[in-house]
């Protein structure tokens, strides 16, 4: 019996007074492709960070309370070998002034450290991976000179090169053109077919999610809906979710003022 890729029981996160995640219960079987949707500030990124064991790591703004349990491949997140998990962070986190070539970024995903010198073998592997995501031409370009969509491809290659069992993607389609988005789903599906990996992907593109995901998680601080796309994204459920979404969001803003 294999453990679920992701399991959460009554998982809550609060930043000071503000509750970002409320009693989340979730079970994702291995091999699933879950699209996570929800409005801005719904706690989507917070949920992915919890799976990485980062829910407190980056905090500088008051105390964080965490309760409930999280398991990734049956293990507490901090005990999961880092090589098992590939992560593409949300775009706003990138420091474009750092002097680096796209190839180095990809190699850093393999080494889990920053490379001083890249070996021939690493170069070959990284180039093959960049080629797979249609970004081989970017290998020797500087990070600061890549467009938003190009950067996303490089980061995707970076997360895939370690051949993870679990892929956590925070809005990887942001800034990517229509062809690029189709490519993205193609790469992810091919990778899944090859490795049987699990994918959790945050997106604001409900339609694409509906076509490609095996399950959709509608999140707005708590789980609004979770299941096969045709069930969760039916007209009624959607309006219900949006109703909650709008209402909840106002509460959020009011509560934080």
């Amino acid at each position: 019996m294999t453990a679920p890729a992701v399991e959460m029981h009554a998982y809550s996160v609060s930043f000071g007074e503000f509750q970002a995640l409320q009693e989340v219960n979730l079970s994702v079987p291995q091999g699933a492709f879950v699209a996570i949707v929800g409005p801005n500030g719904a706690g989507k990124s917070t949920l992915l960070k919890a799976l990485l064991g980062l829910e407190r790591g980056l905090l500088r703004d008051g105390p964080t309370q965490v309760s409930g349990t999280v398991r990734v491949m049956g293990l507490p997140p901090r005990q999961v070998p880092p090589g098992w998990v590939g992560y593409v962070p949300q775009v706003k986190g990138f420091d474009r002034s750092f002097p680096a070539l796209a190839l180095e970024v990809v190699v850093s995903g393999l080494r889990r450290r920053w490379p001083f010198i890249i070996t021939a073998q690493e170069r070959k592997k990284a180039e093959a991976m960049l080629d797979k995501v249609g970004a081989l031409a970017l290998a020797n370009r500087r990070l600061g000179r890549l467009s938003g969509g190009e950067l996303q491809r490089v980061y995707l290659a970076r997360s895939l090169i370690r051949e993870p069992r679990l892929l956590l993607l925070d809005e990887p389609a942001t800034g990517v053109d229509v062809v690029g988005e189709a490519d993205l789903y193609r790469h992810l599906e091919a990778y899944q077919a090859e490795r049987g990996a699990t994918v959790l992907m945050i997106t604001h593109d409900w339609e694409a999610a509906q076509h490609h995901a095996s399950a959709v998680l509608v999140l707005n601080r708590r789980v609004v809906g979770y299941g096969p796309p045709e069930q969760v994204l039916c007209h009624e459920c959607l309006s219900q979710a949006f109703g909650h979404v709008g209402h909840g969001h106002n509460l959020v803003l009011g509560g934080r003022a």
Binding site: L52, G53, L54, G57, L58, R60, D61, R78, P82, V85, Y87, P89, G93, F94, D95, S97, F98, P99, A100, L101, E104, V105, S108, R111, R112, R113, W114, P115, F116, I117, R142
Partner: protein
């Protein structure tokens, strides 16, 4: 010029300059890329307070300044990790406290303190055997810690990714802060308190202009840090000007060149 190299105090000055120049420009790469340029200034003034306390207590200033500056550096890091205040604010507070304490300690001494001026503006010719030993030990420590470069670099590139890969980012932050403080203190005699920040930042900033990768930036920065000492000291000897000023001006000249020459 050549026979000048026979003089022991000049030999010590040259060796001290090379060691400190290499150390400052190596750590400077992290300082510049993490936007902590102001940290050099803050710690230089912590060193000033430490030196002033040492002079007041009639102790060797180095032994007081080292724990003082390292303590301040770790405290700055602690405040940065624990609050949402900007780095400049955290550093600024400790900067002010250090200057206040330094001035207080100076005023408590009887009479004028000519030796204090030497610390403010540097006096590379007064570098002692002890100073050299301390610099050598720090250089050895940093060399042994060379593998940490790739951990610092990773967290500099993207702290979140480094944490997601379970790097002990916080531990390395404290290590970096401690080492920067040590280098600042031993740089005091070479360039003086008022110029240390420039000494840390300019080689790395110049290298940044000329590099496509972080490893190249590191190598070029250290090369500039080390080699700018030689013409700097030569100018100081030939024209009888303060060595710290001469070295920093050579570095600034290289920076200006890089700015005009870069592709």
């Amino acid at each position: 010029m050549m026979e000048a190299l026979q003089l022991p105090f000049l030999q010590r000055a040259l060796l001290a300059g090379l060691l400190v120049g290499g150390l400052a420009s190596y750590l400077g790469v992290m300082v510049v890329q993490r936007r902590l340029s102001f940290l050099g200034d803050g710690l230089a003034h912590a060193a000033f307070a430490g030196v002033a306390l040492g002079l007041l207590l009639h102790e060797e200033p180095l032994w007081v300044a080292i724990p003082f500056a390292v303590g301040v550096s770790l405290a700055i890091t602690w405040v940065r990790e624990r609050s949402n205040l900007g780095d400049d604010t955290a550093i600024g507070i400790f900067f002010a406290v250090s200057v206040a304490l330094g001035v207080l300690f100076m005023s408590m001494r009887q009479g004028f303190a000519p030796d204090a001026v030497a610390y403010l503006f540097g006096s590379i010719l007064t570098v002692t055997q002890t100073d050299l030993w301390v610099m050598g030990f720090i250089a050895l420590g940093v060399a042994l810690l060379a593998p940490v470069w790739s951990h610092w670099a990773y967290a500099t590139f993207d702290r979140e990714l480094a944490l997601a890969d379970r790097q002990p980012v916080l531990l390395y932050d404290y290590l970096l802060a401690g080492l920067i403080a040590l280098v600042v203190v031993v740089s005091v005699k070479v360039v003086g308190i008022v110029l240390i920040a420039a000494f840390i930042v300019i080689p790395a900033a110049t290298a940044r202009l000329l590099s496509r990768t972080f490893s190249a930036m590191t190598v070029i920065s250290v090369a500039i840090g080390v080699f700018s000492v030689v013409p700097g000291l030569a100018a100081a000897y030939l024209f009888d000007v303060p060595a710290g000023s001469a070295i920093v001006l050579v570095q600034a000249l290289l920076f200006a060149l890089a700015l005009t020459l870069r592709r």
